[in-house]
Structure formats: C-alpha cells, structure tokens
C-alpha cells in the first residue's frame, strides 16, 4: 500500500513537471547571471538571456521576465549554444539501402525512431540538432534529415521545417567494399568496384538527372504531349543541380575530394560538406575556393587504409585556409562528448576558443543551412541553449540543462528524480504475467546489447533492419 502511494506521489511530481514544460514553451524563460559563450560575439560574463516563445529576445545584464517565467540561476555556470552534430546516424530504423549504387530515392526522414534512447543521451551531452545521414554504401545515397532532438515528441516534430534538404554521397573504400558484399549466394557483384567507377556512377546519375529535368521542362512548356514519369531517384538530383539540396559527401582521399568538387562544378552546383575529409588539409585552398564545408573528426584516424594520412591539425589548417569546419561524431557514443572534441582543436594548432566552439555550433549550422535560426546565442535565434556546470572545454564539464526553443529536454536534477520513477514503473511492470520469464524452457535469454553501436564510419555495414546495426 505504501509502495503504491509512493509511486503515485512520484507520478504526481512527474505530471507537474510535464505541465510546467508545456507552459514554459509558450511563455518566457530567463537564464540569470551566466558566463555566456555566444559563439559569435565573444564570452559575456554575468549575463542574462531572455527567451520568449522559443526565441532569444534579449541578452544583457539585469533582465527581468514576466510573472510565471521559468528562471534558471546560472551563477558560476557556463552557457553555450546547443551543439550541432553534422554527421550522425542516430535514431534511424534503417541506414543503408546498399542494393543499388544510386539510392537517392530513399529518405532517412521516413526512418526516424523517436523512441531511440540515444537521443536522450545526446541531449545529456548538450546536442540539440543533428544531420542524420544515409550510410556510405553507395556513391549516391539517400536523402538526409536535419533534426532537433525533441525527445518525447512524435517523429514529425524532430524535423526542422525550414532546413534545406540534403543528400549523402560516398566515395572510396566503403563503396568498394559494399560492392563486393554478396547478400545472397550466387548474386552478382554490384557496380562500381573501383574509385573510378564511383565517379562514373555519379557523373552518369547527374547526366540522367539533367535529361530528366529537360524532359519535364519540355513537357511544362507544352513541347511534348506525354507527361514524363515522376522519378523518385532523379528528382532529388535535379534539386542538387538547382542548388536547392545540399550534398554531404563522405570521403577520405584528397584526390577523390578534388574529383567530386570537379564533378559538382561541371554540373554547376556546390558541394555542401566534405564528410570525414581526413586528407582535406592537403587541398585546403581548393576546398575554400569551391566553398565546400569540411565536417571532420578531431583526432580519429588509422581505422582503415584510406584513413591513415590524417593529422589532428586538419581542423586548424582548414580553418586557417578559410574553410567552414565542423567537428562531428558519426557515433552515438562520441556524440555526447563533442565539447571535448572541439577543445582538441585548441590544443592542435591553437584554434582560438570561440572558433573552436563554432566548430560544434555555428559552423555546422552554416553547413546545414540552419544558421539563421540556431548555432549561436543571438537575439532572434532559437533558444537552443546548454547550461554547463563549468567551462565546456574542461574534461570535468557536463551539461546541467539542455533546452531547445526554450523548452527543457534534459535537466540533470529532473533526470535523477526520473530514474526513481522509472525504476518503480519497471518493478511494477516486471510483476505482470506477460513480462515474466517462462518457468522452464523458453527461448534463449536476450544477449547483452552492443554498447558501442554505430561506431565511426561503420555506417556502410549490412542492414538487417535492426537499429544502428
């Protein structure tokens, strides 16, 4: 009886929190007396931030909020923009359509799994937005999703409505390796099996897209009578040619980076980001001239042959050359520590602090085309904000509160309370007949789960329909 009462009390508390959450998103949020790292106008001591209806409306000292506003006393704490991960495969029910060399008809937006616990863990690491990419099994992969981690909401709420659409390309070993995987005995190997074949596939796809666009242009101009088909594969590539869709191109070797920049220039578009780009430092001026961004690891290399010729000074050299650089995770686990990866760019080469912070906030926002609404702490931008216990570049730092558009999605204090509530709930649920293990026999017990799923650059691995395989 007592237990039931305790559970009830916990639930009441939880309900009260939930109620305050909804109220808060519509009203005002005031963060008081913080050290604010704006990622655009330096670091401001003893500063308040006022958020109204999800947008930052004022930044200054001695701000006041309307009655009923949610207030955070951030004395002694640091505040940064929400972290943005420009390369992730988290919360996807399927990552790779590896059967064909060109799978631009697929769209990971349809594969969002808003129940994936890695979302909440990312929030606990201060990540508020991410670019969710198709895997790297094919030269032209699927369409991407640019999301905010609105944990607890339906999948549709995650998608940032005004983010430009994107698409994944991939070059090099993963594509070659995927072409040599037989999923069925006796199956013929997929084309392409070489780096030059990969370039041919991409060029061919854009030629087809150009013809397709011409066919529609002719039809719309009434030059032809028969309507062309609505082609799910070529339509996204037409959008690339028209500059409406960003290309995020996975690759390692500098010769391949140059090749893909050349193909883009040939068809009159700009590559959005070179992803991984471990050898981009060798061609930094060319990358800067083309206008592509580079989304890289801070210090991870040598995990395969084409990933050997890297240096942790990559970020510094690219930044020096004027390239927009972001540090990404490509990992559900590393995603929670991007603040430390950004700090490494200060150690290797001496990237200034604010530039280092930009590499996980404003720069990825620019690469994803969402810098008008997020990526820095500025008046008029979304209230995507992290409150840290100390300087976020300290290895001892951790987020205390992570909010998106002024709404709290992670709160370390509430998390502690939640654990008890959930443990109670689990205890009650496990008592139910349906959740009890059979007395004897039964299927084998669940194997311990893989702790490190979707680890770096493994996104070309086989897809059996599981999560993050």
């Amino acid at each position: 009886m007592k237990r039931v009462f305790t559970l009830f009390a916990f639930l009441m508390v939880l309900t009260a929190f939930a109620a305050s959450l909804t109220a808060q998103s519509r009203g005002e949020v005031l963060i008081k007396n913080a050290t604010v790292m704006t990622a655009v106008r330096g670091t401001l001591e003893g500063t308040d931030i006022l958020i109204r209806d999800g947008k930052i409306v004022r930044i200054g000292k001695g701000l006041t909020a309307a009655a009923g506003a949610v207030t955070f006393d951030a004395t002694g704490k640091y505040v940064t923009p929400g972290i943005i991960d420009a390369h992730s495969h988290t919360m996807l029910s399927a990552i790779n359509e590896g059967s064909l060399a060109v799978t631009s008809m697929t769209d990971v937006k349809e594969m969002l799994d808003p129940t994936d616990i890695t979302i909440y863990r990312a929030l606990a690491g201060g990540v508020t937005s991410a670019l969710l990419l198709h895997g790297s099994a094919n030269p032209i992969g699927g369409q991407s999703a640019t999301v905010k981690f609105k944990w607890g909401r339906p999948a549709a709420d995650y998608i940032i409505p005004d983010a430009p659409p994107g698409i994944k390309f991939a070059l090099g070993e993963n594509v070659k390796r995927s072409s040599q995987t037989q999923t069925q005995p006796g199956q013929t190997f997929r084309y392409p099996r070489t780096r030059m074949g990969t370039m041919e596939v991409i060029r061919d796809a854009f030629r087809r897209a150009r013809d397709y666009k011409q066919a529609w242009d002719d039809f719309r101009a009434k030059k032809t009578k028969i309507p062309p088909r609505v082609d799910e594969e070529l339509q996204p590539l037409v959008e690339v040619i028209e500059g409406k869709r960003l290309v995020h191109c996975h690759g390692y070797r500098s010769d391949e980076h140059l090749n893909i920049l050349k193909i883009a220039e040939e068809f009159g578009f700009r590559i959005g980001t070179l992803q991984h780009a471990l050898e981009a430092y060798k061609i930094a001026p060319e990358v800067a001239k083309h206008g592509a961004g580079a989304s890289i690891f801070a210090d991870s290399w040598s995990y395969k042959l084409e990933a050997y010729d890297n240096t942790p000074y990559n970020a510094y050299m690219l930044w020096k050359a004027g390239v927009v650089v972001s540090i990404n995770s490509d990992s559900d686990e590393r995603m929670r520590r991007l603040n430390l990866d950004a700090a490494k760019t200060m150690k290797y080469g001496g990237v200034p602090e604010e530039e280092a912070l930009k590499m996980i906030t404003l720069n990825p926002a620019k690469q994803l085309g969402i810098d008008k609404r997020t990526g820095s702490i500025e008046q008029g931008k979304d209230g995507d904000i992290v409150i840290w216990n100390m300087h976020p570049f300290s290895p001892y730092s951790h987020p205390e509160v992570t909010m998106i558009e002024g709404e709290v999605f992670f709160d370390i204090g509430r998390d502690k309370l939640n654990r008890q509530v959930l443990a109670k709930e689990r205890e009650e649920l496990e008592k139910l007949e349906v959740n009890r293990a059979p007395g004897s026999g039964g299927t084998p017990p669940a194997r311990p789960a893989e702790r490190r799923v979707a680890e770096r650059d493994e996104a070309d691995r086989g897809e059996i329909g599981g999560n993050n395989q």
Binding site: N96, E97, T183, I226, V230, R426, T443, P444, P445
Partner: protein
C-alpha cells in the same frame, strides 16, 4: 441391382459433399441467439436452408423437414471471422525436385532458386513487388485443412500470401467447401502490403521498401493517365507498355481498392499512416498493437484496424547475464490488451485477426482478455463478426444473424467469455460441422498446417511409410547479410518430433515437430533485437541432408543441413 444401389449412394454423397446442401434444412431451437445486428434473443430458433438463414426469432417456425438441434444451454453467434490469415494456402511449398547430394550451400541456393522459379511472371518487377498476385489463385479447396479454425469457432477468414511486399490481393473465404469457387465470398478484398525487404536486391532495406512503393504508386498513376489518353486517341502516341503490375495498382492509387498495411509498433503505424496520407490510400492498418497511440489520426484519416490477437508475452528464459528488457517493451506488453478498448471508446473501426499466432485458440483467449481490459463483450463479438464484414464490404451478406444472410453460425455451450466454454457446432454456408470435444492436435495454427494432399489426419495414419529423420544435423541458414550456422537435434517418435535448435542467435526447443511424407516440419522462437520472433521450418530430407525454408514474419529464408555421423 446391388451395384446400382452403390452408385446411388455415391451420388448422394457427392451431392452432399459438393457444398450445395440441396434444400437440406437445419434448425437450432431453444438457444440464446446473439444476432449482433439486433437485440439478443434469450430463447429462440435459427432456421438454416440452402446455405442461408431462413428465419430467426423467439418464435420462428421449425420446418417439418428440418434436422433439429436442441439448443438448450447453447448460444448461437454469427460465424467468427479471422480478419487476416493465411488460411487456405498451402504450407510454404519446398520444391521436392531439388538436386540429390551436393553441399548445404548449394542446396540452399537451389531452394532459393526454386522458390523464385515457383512464381514465373513476365512482370517488370521482382517477386515480392507484384501487386497483380491474387491470393485466390493459391487457395486450396477442402474442409479438412480448416478443422482447427472451425473447432475454435471460425467460419470465415480473410486470406493473403505470406511473402513479399505485396503479399497478395486478399480473398475472403468461408472455411469449408469442396471447390474454391464455392468457398470464396469476395475477391479481391484489398491490396495487402507488408513493409519487408527483398533479400539480395532492391529494396534491401526498409528505406528502399518505402521508396520502391512510392515509385510504383507514381508510375501507376501515370500509367492510368497514359491508358486514358491512349483510349481517347491512340494516333500519334506510342502505346503505353502493357504492365499488369502497374495496372493492378490503379484502383489502389485511385482510392477505390482498400490497402491493408501491416504495421504493429508505433514507428510502423506512423510510417504507414504517412504513406496512406501522401497517396490518399483507402488504408486499413493490420496488426495495430500500438494503435492506441494514434486514435486521432486513425479517426481523421478514417482508417480501420485489423487488430492482432497474438498478444506479446515474454518467451525469453531468465538469465542473470542478460540485459534487462527495455522499459518500452515491458510497457508494450502491458498495454496491448487495452488497445481494443481504447479503439472502441474512441469510435475507431476495428476487427480481430490472429496475427500469426501458432494456436488459433489463442485468438479467442486474447479477445476475452481484451474484455477484461476495457472492451465490452458486445464489442468483442462484433470485432469477430459484423465489424470485419463491414470493413470488407460484405456486411449485407454476413457478419450477423439476419434472415437472408449467409448461414455462418458458431454455436457455443457456456459463456464465450468464460473458461468453461465449448464450441459444439459451426455452420459454414449452411453446412453443419459437429465439433468433437477433445481435439487431437492434428493441424494446429493458421492454415491448418495440414498434410497437403493428404486427408489431414496428421502423422499417425501410416507411420511405417514416414522417413526416419531423427539425429543431429549441422545446419546453415542463409539469412540475408549474415549466414547463420548451428546444430539441429531431432528425436523422432513415430510421426512426432522433439528436439532443439542452436544457432548464433541462441538455442531453444522446437515445437509442433512432425515428420512429413518426405521430410519434417517444426516451429520455434528466437530472440532477436529484444523481441521474440516465431518461425516455422519446412524441410525435405534427401539421404543425410535436408533443405527447406525458415518462415517468419520477417520473410522466408533457406535452411539446409547435413546429418552428423
């Protein structure tokens, strides 16, 4: 003279078994009659003649020629409808004409090739993406295969194929009859879609499944447009390519033909509803065990649910080493029995289906459990009778006990919702079947899993003719992307098999093991990704090797094995 008599006798039997009952009349008297469409009659009579309900009422007259069943203590319901099943389809055929000898891998490939060759087609689309496939073509006639379903009170089922993205245009059949024409109530009822992949080719992932469907819907719309243009004026226009696959989709994209979309969990339902909305499909969700989370959308998009009565329960053995099950899964199992009640309260149309359960009796048990979790008994009965009839557009001819409707009746002794109940009779198309009390488990599960062309008498008939299949086998399962190896141990006792199967996914006992004419079959479960997945295996034995198919909701994959000396 004597021979003439025998001839007459044969003729009479032929007429009876021909399905048309030739004016034979039956009456169930003094029974409680749950009409579903109207008020329940506490004590009344149902008269059946010529396959139809001739009269129903408290004082309905019993015809002089009627065979009378005393219904004292009995309740008559409309025949139960299983709103999604594989009933009437053969257990997955494994082509016996496989090569003799050869390694396990070769046999697996041969089995896969045989499966592909089994459906010759000049469609432009691979097997699995052929919406023109009508399940009706593969329905088998005969009463015996439906015995276990009838014993549980079912008289009618919607049936569709087991494999592919387009599993088939479904057919509504009555569960008795000596030819398919007589059994068929309606065909096609709907286009059935499962969001699965085609191993080894596009679409090889869930991502591709959606884009492949989308492209076919686009192309079907265009095909329709071109056909109309051509019909209007063929001159100066290349004739549209004859494409039976796209043609079959035209009524789907035009919103005329319902589409049954298999979707159980939250993400699956969300995706299915999005697709339905995008293409304005006349959608029906099948499975729907998380449908309680989509009440608003189901109502606004006017989507009925064929709710799975295969309620999830933990099957994994306890182990101190295993991870605890996810809270999400624990909650899911607790919530599933409440879903029907929620749908009913919100006014979402729904019907019950077996959901691939191994034992058809679990269906009624789950329906009963729903009534203990917020669903009214009336609504539960409706979900097995009139509701599916309405969803499938046949409520003018079945689903309730009304004069002139098809005489499908289920007669139960005791309360249907109590443990002490016995189905005593069912009438299928006016033909009575008496249910013999304790049933030998001859053909458990959907489809009866009967013995093919045999009389469905199970394995006991002639044990000496059965092959000897006991022993320990090294096995190979050609799962897409990841071949599994392991051991299968079978112990044979006349026609029955017991034993266990161990693979990379763990080990477990086999169930329902049977020796067949040329091999064996059994069922089992594996734990994959935290969920228990039931599968069945059908295998053909050649010497010391076997080859066959593992059939699960995820699709069919080849299995082969070699007996260890």
């Amino acid at each position: 003279m004597k021979s003439k008599l025998v001839l007459y006798a044969f003729a009479a039997i032929g007429m009876l078994s021909g399905g048309s009952v030739c004016g034979q009349s039956y009456a169930v008297t003094n029974a409680k009659i749950v009409t579903v469409s109207g008020a329940t009659i506490e004590k009344g009579t149902v008269v059946v003649r010529d396959g139809l309900i001739q009269a129903v009422g408290a004082n309905a007259a019993v015809p002089a020629d009627a065979q009378v069943f005393d219904g004292n203590g009995l309740t008559v319901y409309p025949g139960f409808i299983d709103s999604l099943s594989n009933l009437g389809l053969a257990p997955r055929a494994v082509q016996a004409a496989g090569p003799v000898g050869g390694g396990g891998g070769g046999q697996a490939a041969a089995a896969a090739a045989a499966a592909a060759a089994a459906t010759p087609s000049n469609s432009n689309y691979p097997a699995g993406l052929r919406p023109e496939y009508a399940t009706l073509e593969d329905i088998r006639a005969g009463d015996a295969q439906f015995e276990s379903a009838r014993n549980a009170g079912f008289t009618t089922a919607l049936s569709t194929g087991r494999t592919g993205i387009f599993t088939g245009q479904s057919v509504l059949i009555n569960l008795a009859g000596d030819n398919v024409s007589v059994m068929t109530v309606k065909s096609p009822v709907a286009m059935n879609v499962a969001f699965v992949t085609i191993p080894g080719q596009y679409p090889g992932s869930l991502l591709g499944t959606f884009s492949a469907l989308r492209q076919m819907f686009n192309d079907a719309k265009r095909h329709d447009q071109l056909l109309k243009m051509y019909a209007q004026d063929p001159r100066g226009m290349r004739r549209p390519a004859d494409d039976k696959s796209l043609e079959a989709l035209i009524p789907v994209v035009n919103g005329q033909m319902p589409v049954i979309l298999v979707a159980n969990r939250e993400n699956e339902i969300e995706r299915a509803l999005n697709l339905a909305k995008e293409y304005n499909l006349k959608a029906i969700i099948a499975g729907g065990q998380d449908a309680g989370k989509f009440i608003g959308r189901l109502k606004s998009q006017n989507v009925p649910v064929l709710l799975s009565m295969n309620f999830p329960k933990r099957t994994a053995a306890a182990s101190p080493d295993a991870d605890p099950e996810s809270l999400d899964l624990l909650r899911f199992r607790a919530e599933v029995p409440k879903v029907a009640g929620k749908l009913a309260a919100a006014g979402v149309k729904f019907a019950f289906q077996n959901g691939g359960a191994a034992d058809v009796n679990d269906f009624v048990a789950a329906a009963v459990k729903s009534t203990e979790n917020g669903l009214s008994k009336d609504a539960a009965i409706k979900a097995m009778t009139l509701a599916p009839a309405e969803i499938f557009g046949v409520s003018d001819r079945m689903g309730s006990i009304e004069t002139g409707k098809i005489a499908n009746l289920t007669v139960v002794r005791g309360d249907l919702f109590s443990a002490q109940k016995t189905v005593t009779h069912v009438f299928v198309d006016g033909k009575p079947f008496e249910i013999k009390a304790p049933e030998v488990p001859a053909g458990r599960g959907p489809g009866g899993r009967g013995q093919g062309a045999g009389a469905g008498t199970g394995g006991g008939a002639n044990p000496s003719a059965l092959p000897s299949v006991g022993g320990t086998y090294s096995i190979n399962i050609a799962a897409p992307g990841q071949a599994l190896t392991g051991t299968l141990t079978l112990t044979q006792q006349s026609g029955q098999l017991t034993g266990s199967m161990t693979t990379d996914l763990g080990s477990g006992p086999i169930r329902d093991g049977k020796v067949t004419q040329n091999g064996f079959s059994f069922a089992g479960s594996v734990n994959f990704g935290g969920q228990s997945i039931d599968f069945t295996v059908q295998a053909t034995v050649t010497g010391n090797t076997f080859s066959g198919t593992v059939d699960s909701p995820q699709g069919a994959i080849p299995i082969s094995g070699t007996k260890n000396p």
